[in-house]
Amino acid sequence: MKLRISTVILLVLCAAGAFAQSAPFPVTLEKELAARASNFTEVTLDKSMLSFASKFLNGKDSDDAKVRELIQKLDGIYVRSYEFDKDNQYTTAEVDSIRKQFAGSEWSPMVRERSKKGDGTDVFVKLVNGDIHGMFVLDAEPKELTFVFISGPIRPDDLNQLGGNFGIPRVGEDHSDDGSGKPKGGAK
Protein backbone atom coordinates (compact mmCIF):
# COMPACT_ATOMS: atom_id res chain seq x y z
CA MET A 1 0.00 0.00 0.00
CA LYS A 2 2.83 2.37 0.95
CA LEU A 3 4.53 1.49 -2.28
CA ARG A 4 1.39 2.40 -4.26
CA ILE A 5 1.04 5.77 -2.52
CA SER A 6 4.70 6.61 -3.11
CA THR A 7 4.36 5.57 -6.76
CA VAL A 8 1.33 7.84 -7.19
CA ILE A 9 3.17 10.73 -5.51
CA LEU A 10 6.18 10.15 -7.74
CA LEU A 11 4.01 10.13 -10.87
CA VAL A 12 2.25 13.34 -9.80
CA LEU A 13 5.61 15.01 -9.13
CA CYS A 14 6.94 13.88 -12.51
CA ALA A 15 3.86 15.20 -14.25
CA ALA A 16 4.12 18.52 -12.41
CA GLY A 17 7.80 18.74 -13.29
CA ALA A 18 7.09 18.06 -16.94
CA PHE A 19 4.33 20.68 -16.94
CA ALA A 20 6.59 23.26 -15.32
CA GLN A 21 9.38 22.47 -17.76
CA SER A 22 7.37 22.98 -20.91
CA ALA A 23 4.78 25.60 -20.07
CA PRO A 24 2.01 25.39 -22.67
CA PHE A 25 0.75 28.44 -24.45
CA PRO A 26 -1.95 29.75 -22.10
CA VAL A 27 -4.33 31.39 -24.55
CA THR A 28 -7.39 29.24 -25.09
CA LEU A 29 -9.40 31.27 -27.56
CA GLU A 30 -7.18 30.70 -30.58
CA LYS A 31 -9.70 28.93 -32.79
CA GLU A 32 -12.51 31.38 -32.10
CA LEU A 33 -10.30 34.41 -32.70
CA ALA A 34 -8.79 32.92 -35.86
CA ALA A 35 -12.28 32.29 -37.22
CA ARG A 36 -13.21 35.94 -36.76
CA ALA A 37 -9.92 37.39 -37.97
CA SER A 38 -9.31 38.59 -41.51
CA ASN A 39 -5.64 37.83 -41.13
CA PHE A 40 -3.82 35.97 -38.44
CA THR A 41 -0.34 34.76 -37.63
CA GLU A 42 0.39 31.90 -35.28
CA VAL A 43 3.91 30.91 -34.41
CA THR A 44 4.51 27.98 -32.08
CA LEU A 45 8.09 27.16 -31.22
CA ASP A 46 8.65 24.79 -28.33
CA LYS A 47 12.07 23.94 -26.91
CA SER A 48 12.79 21.18 -29.40
CA MET A 49 11.79 23.40 -32.32
CA LEU A 50 13.95 26.24 -31.02
CA SER A 51 16.84 23.85 -30.66
CA PHE A 52 16.31 22.62 -34.21
CA ALA A 53 16.09 26.17 -35.57
CA SER A 54 19.25 27.20 -33.73
CA LYS A 55 21.19 24.66 -35.80
CA PHE A 56 20.29 26.64 -38.89
CA LEU A 57 21.44 29.96 -37.50
CA ASN A 58 24.95 30.57 -38.66
CA GLY A 59 27.21 30.86 -35.63
CA LYS A 60 29.81 32.82 -37.63
CA ASP A 61 27.34 35.56 -38.51
CA SER A 62 27.12 37.95 -35.56
CA ASP A 63 23.39 38.64 -35.98
CA ASP A 64 22.54 34.97 -36.32
CA ALA A 65 24.76 34.23 -33.35
CA LYS A 66 22.84 36.73 -31.19
CA VAL A 67 19.52 35.12 -32.10
CA ARG A 68 20.95 31.68 -31.47
CA GLU A 69 22.27 32.70 -28.08
CA LEU A 70 18.86 34.09 -27.16
CA ILE A 71 16.73 31.16 -28.29
CA GLN A 72 19.00 28.44 -26.95
CA LYS A 73 18.09 29.48 -23.40
CA LEU A 74 14.36 29.61 -24.04
CA ASP A 75 11.77 26.90 -23.50
CA GLY A 76 9.34 28.27 -26.06
CA ILE A 77 8.11 31.23 -28.07
CA TYR A 78 4.42 31.44 -28.89
CA VAL A 79 2.97 34.28 -30.91
CA ARG A 80 -0.63 34.86 -31.91
CA SER A 81 -1.59 37.92 -33.87
CA TYR A 82 -5.10 38.55 -35.18
CA GLU A 83 -6.21 41.35 -37.45
CA PHE A 84 -9.89 42.14 -37.89
CA ASP A 85 -11.78 43.99 -40.60
CA LYS A 86 -14.14 45.59 -38.12
CA ASP A 87 -14.04 46.76 -34.52
CA ASN A 88 -15.51 44.72 -31.67
CA GLN A 89 -14.55 41.36 -33.07
CA TYR A 90 -13.49 40.30 -29.61
CA THR A 91 -15.03 41.12 -26.26
CA THR A 92 -13.51 42.61 -23.14
CA ALA A 93 -14.59 39.48 -21.30
CA GLU A 94 -12.56 37.33 -23.67
CA VAL A 95 -9.45 39.42 -23.17
CA ASP A 96 -10.03 39.50 -19.41
CA SER A 97 -10.26 35.72 -19.34
CA ILE A 98 -6.79 35.59 -20.85
CA ARG A 99 -5.45 38.16 -18.40
CA LYS A 100 -6.84 36.07 -15.53
CA GLN A 101 -4.58 33.20 -16.53
CA PHE A 102 -1.68 35.35 -15.36
CA ALA A 103 -3.25 36.48 -12.14
CA GLY A 104 -1.45 33.82 -10.14
CA SER A 105 1.42 34.48 -7.81
CA GLU A 106 4.01 33.29 -10.33
CA TRP A 107 3.40 36.16 -12.67
CA SER A 108 3.79 39.85 -11.95
CA PRO A 109 2.12 42.59 -13.97
CA MET A 110 4.82 44.82 -15.39
CA VAL A 111 2.72 47.04 -17.62
CA ARG A 112 -1.02 47.66 -17.48
CA GLU A 113 -2.39 50.25 -19.83
CA ARG A 114 -6.02 50.93 -20.76
CA SER A 115 -7.48 53.50 -23.11
CA LYS A 116 -10.96 55.00 -23.12
CA LYS A 117 -11.75 53.13 -26.34
CA GLY A 118 -11.41 49.89 -24.46
CA ASP A 119 -8.14 48.69 -25.90
CA GLY A 120 -5.21 48.09 -23.67
CA THR A 121 -1.85 46.55 -23.13
CA ASP A 122 -0.51 44.19 -20.52
CA VAL A 123 2.94 42.85 -19.91
CA PHE A 124 3.36 40.10 -17.34
CA VAL A 125 6.68 38.70 -16.28
CA LYS A 126 7.55 35.58 -14.36
CA LEU A 127 10.26 36.32 -11.85
CA VAL A 128 12.54 33.62 -10.45
CA ASN A 129 15.12 34.89 -7.96
CA GLY A 130 14.85 38.35 -9.44
CA ASP A 131 15.40 37.19 -13.03
CA ILE A 132 12.76 37.13 -15.73
CA HIS A 133 11.93 33.53 -16.65
CA GLY A 134 8.88 34.21 -18.76
CA MET A 135 7.08 37.04 -20.44
CA PHE A 136 3.55 37.47 -21.68
CA VAL A 137 2.55 40.48 -23.75
CA LEU A 138 -1.06 41.20 -24.62
CA ASP A 139 -1.71 44.06 -26.98
CA ALA A 140 -5.39 44.69 -27.64
CA GLU A 141 -6.32 47.28 -30.23
CA PRO A 142 -9.74 47.83 -31.82
CA LYS A 143 -8.83 45.89 -34.96
CA GLU A 144 -5.91 43.91 -33.74
CA LEU A 145 -5.11 41.50 -30.96
CA THR A 146 -1.62 40.21 -30.29
CA PHE A 147 -0.30 37.77 -27.71
CA VAL A 148 3.35 36.97 -27.23
CA PHE A 149 4.35 34.32 -24.73
CA ILE A 150 8.01 33.66 -24.11
CA SER A 151 8.88 30.84 -21.76
CA GLY A 152 12.36 30.71 -20.27
CA PRO A 153 15.03 33.15 -19.16
CA ILE A 154 14.80 36.36 -21.16
CA ARG A 155 15.85 39.95 -20.70
CA PRO A 156 14.21 42.80 -22.61
CA ASP A 157 17.75 43.95 -23.40
CA ASP A 158 18.37 40.71 -25.31
CA LEU A 159 15.44 41.49 -27.56
CA ASN A 160 16.50 45.09 -27.94
CA GLN A 161 19.97 44.02 -29.02
CA LEU A 162 18.40 42.16 -31.90
CA GLY A 163 16.59 45.31 -32.99
CA GLY A 164 17.56 46.59 -36.39
CA ASN A 165 18.31 43.11 -37.73
CA PHE A 166 16.05 40.70 -39.59
CA GLY A 167 13.30 43.34 -39.55
CA ILE A 168 13.13 43.26 -35.76
CA PRO A 169 12.39 46.80 -34.60
CA ARG A 170 14.27 48.43 -31.76
CA VAL A 171 12.10 48.97 -28.72
CA GLY A 172 12.02 52.63 -27.83
CA GLU A 173 12.63 53.90 -31.34
CA ASP A 174 9.66 55.23 -33.22
CA HIS A 175 10.23 54.33 -36.87
CA SER A 176 8.20 55.77 -39.65
CA ASP A 177 6.80 52.46 -40.92
CA ASP A 178 3.33 51.21 -40.00
CA GLY A 179 4.68 50.15 -36.66
CA SER A 180 3.35 46.66 -36.77
CA GLY A 181 6.35 44.78 -38.03
CA LYS A 182 3.94 42.00 -38.74
CA PRO A 183 3.61 40.11 -41.97
CA LYS A 184 0.80 41.27 -44.18
CA GLY A 185 -1.35 39.18 -46.42
CA GLY A 186 -1.85 35.51 -45.79
CA ALA A 187 -2.62 33.66 -42.68
CA LYS A 188 -0.42 30.99 -41.19
Partner: protein
Protein backbone atom coordinates in the same frame (compact mmCIF):
# COMPACT_ATOMS: atom_id res chain seq x y z
CA UNK B 1 22.01 -38.42 -87.81
CA UNK B 2 23.23 -42.02 -87.81
CA UNK B 3 23.38 -44.07 -90.97
CA UNK B 4 22.70 -47.35 -89.23
CA UNK B 5 21.67 -48.61 -85.85
CA UNK B 6 25.10 -50.18 -85.47
CA UNK B 7 26.80 -46.82 -85.62
CA UNK B 8 24.57 -45.53 -82.83
CA UNK B 9 25.19 -48.60 -80.68
CA UNK B 10 28.91 -48.29 -81.22
CA UNK B 11 28.94 -44.68 -80.11
CA UNK B 12 26.83 -45.51 -77.07
CA UNK B 13 29.19 -48.28 -76.09
CA UNK B 14 32.18 -45.96 -76.47
CA UNK B 15 30.46 -43.35 -74.38
CA UNK B 16 29.61 -45.72 -71.54
CA UNK B 17 32.99 -47.42 -71.47
CA UNK B 18 34.79 -46.84 -68.13
CA UNK B 19 37.63 -44.39 -68.42
CA UNK B 20 40.47 -43.33 -66.19
CA UNK B 21 39.71 -40.09 -64.29
CA UNK B 22 41.97 -37.13 -65.04
CA UNK B 23 44.90 -36.65 -62.74
CA UNK B 24 44.03 -34.95 -59.42
CA UNK B 25 40.27 -35.25 -60.00
CA UNK B 26 39.62 -37.11 -56.74
CA UNK B 27 41.58 -34.53 -54.73
CA UNK B 28 39.66 -31.69 -56.28
CA UNK B 29 36.31 -33.33 -55.49
CA UNK B 30 37.35 -33.93 -51.86
CA UNK B 31 38.55 -30.34 -51.53
CA UNK B 32 35.32 -28.94 -52.96
CA UNK B 33 33.07 -31.04 -50.79
CA UNK B 34 34.93 -30.06 -47.62
CA UNK B 35 34.42 -26.32 -48.35
CA UNK B 36 30.64 -26.63 -47.98
CA UNK B 37 30.62 -28.46 -44.67
CA UNK B 38 31.03 -27.47 -41.04
CA UNK B 39 34.14 -28.49 -39.08
CA UNK B 40 32.11 -31.19 -37.36
CA UNK B 41 31.02 -32.57 -40.69
CA UNK B 42 34.54 -32.44 -42.06
CA UNK B 43 35.87 -34.36 -39.08
CA UNK B 44 33.14 -36.92 -38.75
CA UNK B 45 31.78 -37.57 -42.22
CA UNK B 46 33.31 -38.63 -45.46
CA UNK B 47 32.70 -36.59 -48.59
CA UNK B 48 29.34 -37.36 -50.09
CA UNK B 49 28.08 -38.96 -46.94
CA UNK B 50 24.90 -37.53 -45.40
CA UNK B 51 25.38 -35.97 -41.99
CA UNK B 52 22.92 -35.37 -39.18
CA UNK B 53 24.86 -32.39 -37.86
CA UNK B 54 22.91 -29.19 -38.61
CA UNK B 55 24.62 -26.38 -40.43
CA UNK B 56 25.18 -23.60 -37.85
CA UNK B 57 24.46 -20.87 -40.44
CA UNK B 58 20.95 -19.78 -41.48
CA UNK B 59 19.64 -20.94 -44.83
CA UNK B 60 20.29 -17.58 -46.50
CA UNK B 61 23.91 -17.56 -45.39
CA UNK B 62 24.37 -21.12 -46.61
CA UNK B 63 22.98 -20.05 -50.00
CA UNK B 64 25.37 -17.11 -50.21
CA UNK B 65 28.25 -19.35 -49.17
CA UNK B 66 27.35 -21.81 -51.91
CA UNK B 67 27.31 -18.97 -54.41
CA UNK B 68 30.70 -17.89 -53.14
CA UNK B 69 31.96 -21.43 -53.47
CA UNK B 70 30.83 -21.64 -57.05
CA UNK B 71 31.64 -18.17 -58.30
CA UNK B 72 34.52 -17.10 -56.08
CA UNK B 73 33.15 -13.63 -55.27
CA UNK B 74 29.70 -12.19 -54.61
CA UNK B 75 30.14 -9.52 -57.25
CA UNK B 76 30.72 -12.15 -59.91
CA UNK B 77 26.94 -12.69 -59.95
CA UNK B 78 25.46 -10.17 -62.44
CA UNK B 79 22.07 -10.03 -60.75
CA UNK B 80 23.65 -9.49 -57.36
CA UNK B 81 25.89 -6.82 -58.79
CA UNK B 82 22.87 -4.93 -60.12
CA UNK B 83 21.04 -5.38 -56.84
CA UNK B 84 23.98 -3.94 -54.88
CA UNK B 85 24.30 -1.01 -57.31
CA UNK B 86 20.56 -0.32 -57.17
CA UNK B 87 20.56 -0.48 -53.36
CA UNK B 88 23.48 1.93 -53.19
CA UNK B 89 21.83 4.34 -55.63
CA UNK B 90 18.54 4.26 -53.75
CA UNK B 91 20.35 4.81 -50.44
CA UNK B 92 22.27 7.78 -51.81
CA UNK B 93 19.15 9.27 -53.42
CA UNK B 94 17.09 8.80 -50.26
CA UNK B 95 19.88 10.23 -48.10
CA UNK B 96 20.08 13.30 -50.33
CA UNK B 97 16.32 13.75 -50.28
CA UNK B 98 16.15 13.40 -46.49
CA UNK B 99 18.95 15.94 -46.04
CA UNK B 100 17.23 18.38 -48.41
CA UNK B 101 13.96 18.01 -46.47
CA UNK B 102 15.86 18.63 -43.24
CA UNK B 103 17.41 21.78 -44.70
CA UNK B 104 13.99 23.05 -45.81
CA UNK B 105 12.46 22.33 -42.39
CA UNK B 106 15.42 24.01 -40.68
CA UNK B 107 15.15 27.12 -42.82
CA UNK B 108 11.40 27.23 -42.16
CA UNK B 109 12.04 26.95 -38.40
CA UNK B 110 14.64 29.72 -38.64
CA UNK B 111 12.16 31.97 -40.45
CA UNK B 112 9.52 31.21 -37.81
CA UNK B 113 11.94 32.25 -35.07
CA UNK B 114 12.71 35.52 -36.84
CA UNK B 115 9.00 36.15 -37.46
CA UNK B 116 8.23 35.52 -33.79
CA UNK B 117 11.00 37.89 -32.74
CA UNK B 118 9.80 40.52 -35.24
CA UNK B 119 6.27 40.41 -33.86
CA UNK B 120 7.58 40.39 -30.29
CA UNK B 121 9.81 43.39 -31.02
CA UNK B 122 7.06 45.34 -32.74
CA UNK B 123 4.54 44.54 -29.99
CA UNK B 124 6.96 45.66 -27.30
CA UNK B 125 7.70 48.79 -29.29
CA UNK B 126 3.99 49.54 -29.60
CA UNK B 127 3.62 49.05 -25.84
CA UNK B 128 6.60 51.31 -25.21
CA UNK B 129 5.27 54.02 -27.52
CA UNK B 130 1.83 53.87 -25.99
CA UNK B 131 3.24 54.29 -22.50
CA UNK B 132 5.48 57.13 -23.71
CA UNK B 133 2.48 58.83 -25.34
CA UNK B 134 0.48 58.42 -22.15
CA UNK B 135 3.23 60.06 -20.12
CA UNK B 136 3.41 63.00 -22.54
Amino acid sequence: MYETEDEFEQELRDGLRPRQAPEGFADRVIALSSVGTSPAQRDGARPGQLSTVEDPLPAQAVLIRRQLTHSGRLTDQPLLRWAIAATLLISIAFGGYAERQRQIAGERARQQVLLALRITGSTLRAVHNRIADGND
